[in-house]
Symmetry: C2
């Protein structure tokens, strides 16, 4: 979890969310408890939990409902990661072995399913049919995004595809975090609309920065190999900018034509991208999203939670992991 000033207004609730999530394995097979413990101890930033709790407290929502909602959202996120890591064959996440690195595919599939069921249960416990609908819809957006990626050709450079992909992968759940927190807090439509836009923008920025860090960080910081997307033939924002500014780059042309890039090729490309202005341009686009998100916050109540959300938005582009 993050140690930051923006968690101060919701420090106690963050602990309650952890408790709610851990309690989901009660009364079930001990293997489920072990898996859940491993997953919840794996150093997630809980950025969606923080976003949900701050939004709800800013708008004066019921504390208990918001804790339930935040646990639902983080559970949904965790379940999708479990299946994601299995599908990608990832053996490490945040520097810690993934579930599928230690368990059979069968156990990993079922653990993900179990956490889905608990996410749905927690969402239902918020007592809001509207929240439930948005929740289910978000899961279908996330999964549809993954299916689309699975069936897509590799090494395709297309901005619209990229935006659609990061919306499905990340921004949709940020948007849902803020929107459902506002709905549970009985906010009016104008406020819901503003905070939804805020969630969307910080979500888009969050994934853009993730994609940038994949190029700029070292393996030891990220806890996973550098340029992991590129290794899988997935083209992200820094590469898109690089391509636009270096349309004649022979390396890149060859990759896109031959759908292939070995370790040497990856190494050279990584240096070229890092030395170009592509990283700065991508950062600048992420910052624009944060700026748009912050503009939305100006329409909302001035209190310590709103200030914390502003800090959170800045953290999203300034973080190093």
């Amino acid at each position: 979890m993050i140690e930051a000033t923006f968690t101060t207004p919701i420090e106690d609730r963050l602990g309650l969310v952890e408790e709610r999530m851990r309690a989901q394995s009660d009364g079930h097979h001990s293997a489920v408890g072990a898996a859940l413990h491993h997953l919840l101890s794996s150093g997630g930033k809980r950025i969606r939990v923080i976003t949900t709790l701050l939004t709800g407290k800013m708008l004066g929502g019921d504390a208990d409902k918001l804790v339930t909602l935040a646990a639902a959202i983080e559970s949904l996120h965790t379940a999708t990661l479990v299946h994601d890591d299995l599908i990608d064959g990832a053996v490490i996440r945040r520097g810690i072995p993934t579930l599928n690195a230690q368990w059979s595919p069968a156990a990993t599939v079922l653990t993900g399913d179990f956490i889905f069921s608990k996410a749905a249960k927690l969402a239902a416990e918020t007592g809001s049919v509207e929240v439930m609908k948005i929740f289910a819809e978000t899961l279908s957006i996330i999964v549809n995004g993954e299916i689309t990626q699975l069936f897509s050709s590799k090494w395709v450079a297309n901005r619209d595809d990229y935006y659609r992909r990061i919306y499905a992968k990340t921004a949709s759940l940020f948007e849902t975090s803020t929107t459902t927190a506002a709905i549970l807090s009985n906010a009016n439509d104008q406020i819901i609309s503003s905070i939804k836009q805020f969630g969307y923008d910080i979500g888009m920025a969050f994934q853009m920065v993730d994609d940038i860090l994949d190029f700029t960080s070292e393996q030891v910081t990220m806890g996973k190999p550098v340029a992991s997307d590129l290794r899988q033939g997935i083209i992200t924002l820094p590469v898109l900018y690089y391509l636009e500014s270096h349309p004649q780059d022979i390396e890149m042309k060859s990759i896109l034509e031959n759908n292939f890039c070995d370790e040497d090729c990856l190494g050279r490309l990584l240096v070229s991208i890092r030395q170009s202005g592509a990283i700065d341009s991508a950062f600048s686009e992420a910052r624009q999203h944060v700026k748009k998100g912050l503009d939305q916050l100006l329409k909302l109540p001035v209190n310590s939670e709103r200030q914390a959300l502003e800090e959170l938005a800045s953290y999203i582009v300034d973080r190093e992991i």
Copy 2:
């Protein structure tokens, strides 16, 4: 789908449920549509759909809500089957290739997840928080049952384990079908309690008969190998009865001690079980459940749907597939 007199009162609604389920892939990647089409055309009996629709119509519930609920329940069932077949490595179900026989594990996991998301969406569309909660709880019971089986030793003969397993695997969703249909129909607590018990009993009977048919049917009828449970070291009701009446059977003793039974051993055991009274005893236990279920129906309104539910209950033990 079943051609039977007990579907007469709900014939039109059955078609609407199919439409609702097929429409779930609209607006998503074409691969999802193809997978859903394959799954929905794979000859399922729709026994849970029929149970849900008959219960709801018997109790005068809103037609549209019941169609939505039935689509939610069958979708949940379908999603669990997709992951189940993947985990078991089953390449055939009802004589038709499973999804995982044709697709990669990744695509199969994601298709299951997608159908889960749509099951949750449909459940939310019933507008009932209570239904949502039961729904999510049922999914966790089903998945917990599968996880328990995955981590259990093979070749363990224990009646309580067997009942727990078939409740999780099958009876829980039958119970949920009748219970949620009654809740959506605004039935009183007494009626809900009776119809819940009916769902439980026909669900238990249904799985017992499935387990019996695994021994008595030929491969061509079942569309899967005979004694498939035994092949996987899973002991079901006919084997439990056989063990109780033949405690000295050398073959069986050796299996339980050595956790092993090859093709010859399986063949001999199959003949012994078929020739013993074990099949009859297992059938008799299934019939007792149906009888208990029918007793509950006596407390409910007399109409053509109740009569159809009685026929359905009898069909469950008299079917040949």
